[in-house]
Amino acid sequence: MTSLSLSLGPPALVRLHDALICLSKFSETVAIEAEPDLLRLSALNSTKTGFASFAFEKGVFFEAYSFNSSINGRSGSVSLERFFCQIYNKALLSIFRGRIDRNKDTAVERCDMELHEDLQQTECRLTVKMICGLGVIKSYKLTYEPAAVQHAVFDKSKATSMWTADPRFLKQLIEHFSLSAEQLDMYSDSGRAVFTSFTTRITDGKEVLKHPVHTSVAADKRDFQEYLVEENMHVAINLKDFKAVVAHAETANATVTARYTRPCKPLQLEYRFEGVNAEFTVMTRGQADSEEVPTSTRGTIPRQTPAPIPISAIRSRDTRPSVTPSTQMPPPPPRSRSIRPLNGSSTQENLSHQKPSADRPVASGLSMEFDSLFVPADDDRQWDEMNEEEEEEEEEEPQDILGWDASGTQDAFGASIRDTEPSFSKQDGSRAEEADDEMGLPPTQRLSQVRQYGLFD
């Protein structure tokens, strides 16, 4: 059984609401991740090119925070003291909206949130209680669902370029851009930091007037608190994401730090304030370095949703999804009822196969660098635009999909569906393989019809 309970004071409540608004610009759902020392809210956009995460520290942000997890028995890993779920962001926003007014008698004085998850119970509920003035208590029960929480991978130590700036200054830069601009290119040019907005749209030669405006803003390096950026290296990110980050950083009054390496590698925007660590990892576009981005990546990886991989593997190097082994079945997810039947094997089997989990990192094909985490997702359409790209700095098709580290150690969801990988069958013997074959596809015939062949007699 897992239980999480926390209390927020009014200022933290406002912060939480601001964070939720920012997250809502990335995705409709917000992933909640509880650890003994922090609570993380994150959102991943639908094209998997932008990931926003807010980590709230136990001691600073919350008035009270406690998290207990007792699913250790099922896991083979020590780092399993986490809990994940996801929730529809609009539901959360509507609860926290407009709770700021301190002048009212019934202004919120404290907010308590509780979550108890018991495998024996069917309900998944997050309880939010607003303790207001005059003894008013408003309670909300929200439905959440179990989720495979994924984190974008970003290695700060490998960043080669970085800058730090005041969000108000960044906002001034943004204001020059046309509202319809989609992309933001940044580079350094002889002492100036140049930000250019552009739009990658297919335009007919005749519709010249519909061509987007190019806006470039060149600011003095001195306007940044720090500016250590490789000269003339263009990286481009989604302008909407950047706007969302700057808007939130401004409300938090926190200086924003950007770190990145090369085009087509992720860029991270980060800031900290009042016990909150905000990190935004977004994919960049631009002219990729051919040596660093193996072009073969796309060809060899089958089209599939990037499968999450275990946290232990991340700590080493690789997160390439396609080679994720499943020598081990995942533990049953908090609510795996809907998933389990696909395994074609019983829960008992699941549990017994968890033992060899220690081997997993070794067994996986740890062949790729961190940087090559970016593999195509299954949605093919997202490439179309890039193919049409007429931007000079984007001749090569950038690999702009983020790869995922399923830090949710045992991610049941992805792996349990794909239980037919070779390593599994080897371990399990032919019987399991047969079972998989039988159950992998829905039956098309009645047993009575095939009985005459004697297979099941």
């Binding site: 700060k156 046309s178 509202l179 010249v208 608190q225 250590l228 730090t257 304030f273």
Partner: protein, 373 residues
């Protein structure tokens, strides 16, 4: 072909483009040695022909124009231009020039924005995360911190590249201002802010479930652009096209004795607002002889009504409420507006922008069709 100038009054330019952009997106901009002409001819609704002396918006001394035909005709999305001009507000330096990028013609606006900064923008709450990775440890970072942190002038260069289309002289030859009959009444409109708020109020009251009509976009290559006719058959087709939408129609009428009447009538309501003691300006004697002038319907009306009473000599037009509201957005430049009424046919507005005495006058002419009942 060459065009380059410093902006003199980016605020006026910006307000002008904002008002024009409410009528249509595509603007024909004609750059001449003395004047800049802006023309918007939407598929439906009001068209505007503006003639702005170079010195009103551009800096005369830096104005450079070279063209074989003594003019450069360009087509530009006026709202894009307007948005770009916003960057030039309060700038110390703003230059507009014609240029090319990958064979695509552009209007490039280059702005140097200066702003006084208090210096160190460091915020107390942030003591820079955890250094900068392994290669740049945190001791190194402050040393690399760029520049001084004292109060100073912050300078930012902004470049806006606005896509345009160059029109050949032959493409615009056929374009001319509409001709219309001599007006029955001409009158100086009251304060536009007041007129607009009352008009908008009326329109809103009469609005039922009308769907918002988009301001017409002039198709760049539409043949119709070359054969603009006004009044007569052309007006009728336009009127038919427009009356299919349910947007309320305002009735605007005036006489030669200083009265203007704004009214709206629907099945449910009838409202009217009347201004009196407005000015019916005298005509410019330099343009025609006294005899010709006496034959004009407006001058006849001026004489007539005094003897026949004030119920006579009114000229009336029916105009689209939303379109009228867009026309009146020119009010932000606080101009003087002379409205010329051609009874039951058209309303022509001559809009004069405020100017210094030694400058030439800017004039925008709006041609508004009257709807049939």
């Amino acid at each position: 072909m060459r065009f380059r100038t410093q902006l003199k009054d980016s605020k006026t330019f910006s307000k002008l483009t904002a008002s024009l952009s409410s009528l249509g997106k595509v603007c024909w901009m004609r750059l001449e040695y003395e004047v800049i002409r802006f023309t918007i001819i939407p598929d439906q609704g009001t068209q505007v022909w503006a003639s702005i002396p170079v010195g009103t918006i551009f800096d005369d001394t830096t104005y450079e124009l070279e063209s074989n035909s003594d003019a450069i005709n360009i087509e530009v999305n006026i709202s894009v231009l307007n948005r770009a001009l916003r960057s030039a507000w309060g700038a110390t330096h703003a230059q507009l020039r014609l240029t090319k990028k990958e064979k695509n013609p552009l209007l490039a606006l280059t702005v140097l924005a200066s702003e006084w900064t208090e210096g160190n923008m460091a915020l107390a709450t942030n003591d820079d995360a955890d250094g900068f990775g392994d290669d740049h440890n945190s001791e190194e970072a402050p040393a690399d911190t760029t520049g001084d942190r004292g109060p100073r002038e912050r300078q930012t260069w902004i470049t806006q590249e606005i896509p345009i289309k160059i029109l050949h002289e032959s493409a615009v030859e056929g374009l001319h201002e509409p001709h219309c009959p001599d007006p029955e009444v001409h009158i100086i409109l009251p304060n536009l802010a007041q007129l607009k708020s009352i008009s908008d109020r009326f329109t809103k009251l009469a609005s039922t479930d009308n769907k918002n009509r988009q301001p017409g976009v002039m198709a760049p290559d539409a043949p119709g652009m070359h054969s603009v006719s006004f009044g007569g058959a052309g007006a009728n087709t336009a009127a038919t096209a427009l009356s299919t939408n349910s947007s309320p129609k305002l009735e605007l009428s005036a006489n030669m004795h200083g009265s203007l009447r704004l009214a709206i009538a629907t099945d449910e309501l009838r409202i009217a607002s009347v201004w009196s003691d407005l000015v019916n300006p005298p005509l410019d004697p330099a343009q025609m002889t006294q005899e010709e002038m006496n034959q004009l319907p407006s001058e006849l009306n001026r004489k007539r009504a005094a003897s026949e009473g004030f119920d006579f000599g009114w000229a009336k037009v029916r105009i689209d409420g939303k379109d009228w509201s867009r026309v009146l957005s020119i009010g932000r430049l606080s101009p003087k507006v002379v409205a010329c009424f051609v009874n039951e046919m058209a309303l022509v507005l001559y809009v004069y922008l405020p100017h210094n005495r030694d400058e030439e006058e800017s004039c925008l002419t709006y041609y508004i069709n009257s709807f049939t009942t």
